[in-house]
Symmetry: D2
Subunit: 255 residues, 4 copies
């Protein structure tokens, strides 16, 4: 069983199960607050929302940046939900003082300078597996953080690159069980980015829960069709409510 | 919902859930009978067992061949369980007269001559996905069977090849949900070959059930350490019993 | 240095360099004869042409079959060029009596029954690497042929499957040098199928020659735009002439 | 034809061909000077040498850092060779003032903050393709540099990840020809990292030259067995001399 991390009173790992939900990216105060309230009612205990986005093209929307962080923190205050958001440069660290979990994206999994800098903070770090990295490499990247003194690391499976094109990435759920054999760090699964299609998020979320994940992180948007980022894979609040309900039944079945 | 196939009274697909279990390969009359009885008690309704094996090296054990089929059919009679076993050449078809489900292995998924020949039989065909084939290609291979007149095809996800080396293959569970969007053929999952490690079979089997598979096929051996083939991934009858019990709880949770 | 195989007087391997060229598929007597004469003038010593095609979909053109073989053999007589063509079922073997080199396609690289049957002939076999097979697996498949008594096997690199989508497959030219360290069988390269684009065939053919391949097999069509199969990757006779000339200069540079 | 970049009088691209050579990592003043002098005599015009290394494990040798840069610059002065070395954090930029070409490693290809910072310098940037990135993504990463105002970017193919395990990575030489169709940036190839074996470096270097690369970057060490990093893939100065000679013959053959 993995060790327990405490995020502002919310426990992750050690037999606890954590639902993380929210939009791909923070778009406005109203948007993030609306979504936060609805996912909290459905059972999510941590709010996700991107402010600094790492995008393949420099001409794609790069997130609201500093303002996005501020809106996220405002929502944290209003809803009492801890928040997780991605960092893309260690220079931005001062902006993350009140962020509860700092996410390292797949493209930065081997940005070792960033990992070392995060290892010198006392934040919980959510480390995403790179899109073609092995489990051993993921664990070595976690070591870059822990060897600097910060052992509060959550590992996140988010899909790997294969030749299959129906899905954006291939969610490797065997990694969940494998990591349980290799480390005591909690493991969460992000089915939204892997699938790239909202219709596949529910079955993959249920499968991840059944495989023994310590938590699941799902993208939810109040208006997916008009989302500024990755709308095709976002669930509506109603869909998320349904998924959250089923996940809990799976959890009860396997405990 | 997928269509229903009837295998000697056992229904596959259409909301039914089918457990298929047995050894990688038939080794002796006692071995196959012992395993059959134990997996039947644990809830398996169909018996698997290899007689003709497609092995990477010509110097590896190739199965008992014709004698393996005979022992399998003897066990079928003794236990009343329908049987599934692999075919590697259409010339062997006469030996499969009393076999209930004919399996096409991953390496033969695009052996189109074999597929066409099976399309001219009235057998249920279990078609395994090739180790680097896309879902579209799997469906096109199914068309080679159905376009000849036999539409009794079950699709089987058994892991695809990636760069990850902790597991033998990467089980692509999103394929289960994806295939449900693309076809009405039943979909079963073989977690044993994908994992290549007995310890990963349970979590992957539970995940497959949660993802909505119509059935699961698991390798079980009464003495894995001395198995002639793939012992490292075989469950003992006791382990299988535990897994079968948990799978049923998952099924109840999601229906 | 690889061993030498003799194909009707044409030597393959052992320091010789062999150009194989012709259309993806035989379409008519005039087509195959016209192409044969032109590629022979450009320096090709062996004629390729498909008669039985293994296609992903059963609804794609499957080749002219028996008639295609007959046209190929007519052209052999007219031009005195040895011919290579693909076999897809051991039942067709009698049709291949006068074929000089029998090709096993990538999809059949692990069709072990077919390999064994070819191992009991005295034909030269051109064995293509499967689209996601390792070099070790390719060599094991060659063993299926040689262990039956026929050691006249040519290995063929034709590209492997990766996530890159600009090319159809990723031509793995390091396999050429690697196979030279692992076996004494001659190694030829098929850049046409890997690239999937005529514009990439020349640079890949030159690279293959520089990497030490014993031969190169190129698709040539007198009217690529109206080819029944894979026209996008076929060179015109003029383009082939240019490539053949450059390949010979590369060969002179490295010997 | 690609555009021409000028590196301290050495031209890259536009029909020129550039040999870059040197050790994986700078180890001592004597080591780097000895190697520089020998590769220069063999025809290399630019010296490579790592100072800041991105390594999978934090417990591996991470390079000499600032001192490595100093030794490299001393050697530059002594030999008059421009130097290329990797950057891993934009905070280190002031140390690179006299470095001629700044390399971005494969693991940082999508470290967009670093790319943007390099786009605001006037240095030539050598951008390595990530180990599972597509050509489109490589070009988008180049855009992160050029869109900030610095269009002096060299692209570098260094192998992609596949299931093949005989080589460390699969060198994708079709990327050279493909990039020529997609961009006017010069393209160089690093066969050393891809192969991971010294014995494969020569054939892959020749193949890269034949495929039309604008340059080749090769690891050379005066004592590979005792190299602190990647000794298995380093050529000795004598081996490099031989390869350089053959590359030039290939170049003459194709121009």
């Amino acid at each position: 069983m993995s060790k327990v991390l405490d995020v502002n009173g919310i426990k992750i790992g050690g037999g606890n199960f954590t639902l993380i939900a929210g939009p791909c990216t923070v778009e406005s105060e109203e948007q993030i607050l609306t979504i936060a309230q609805s996912v909290r009612e459905s059972g999510a205990s941590i709010l996700r929302g991107g402010a600094f986005k790492g995008r393949t093209s420099p001409y794609d929307f790069q997130g609201m940046g500093r303002e996005g962080i501020e809106l996220l923190l405002k929502t944290k205050e209003a809803t009492d939900m801890p928040v997780v958001t991605e960092i893309v440069s260690k220079e931005h660290l001062p902006l993350f003082d009140d962020v509860d979990i700092i996410q390292v994206g797949a493209r930065n999994m081997q940005n070792f300078e960033l990992l070392r800098a995060l290892g010198r903070t006392d934040k919980v770090i959510l480390l995403k597996r790179g899109m073609s990295n092995t489990l051993r490499e993921l664990l070595m990247s976690a070591e870059y953080i822990t060897s600097e003194g910060n052992d509060k690391v959550i590992l996140c499976e988010r899909g790997i690159r294969t030749f299959e094109s129906y899905t954006r990435f291939t969610l490797d759920l065997s990694s969940v069980a494998a990591l349980k054999e290799l480390t005591d760090l909690p493991v969460v699964v992000d089915p939204s980015h892997a699938a790239g299609r909202a219709s596949l998020v529910e079955p993959m979320a249920l499968a991840a829960a059944a495989a023994g994940a310590d938590g699941i992180m799902i993208e939810v948007h109040n208006d997916p069709k008009n989302a500024l980022c990755d709308g095709a894979q976002a669930l509506t609040p109603d869909q998320f409510d349904e998924v959250a309900r089923k996940i809990m039944k799976i959890r009860e079945a396997i405990v």
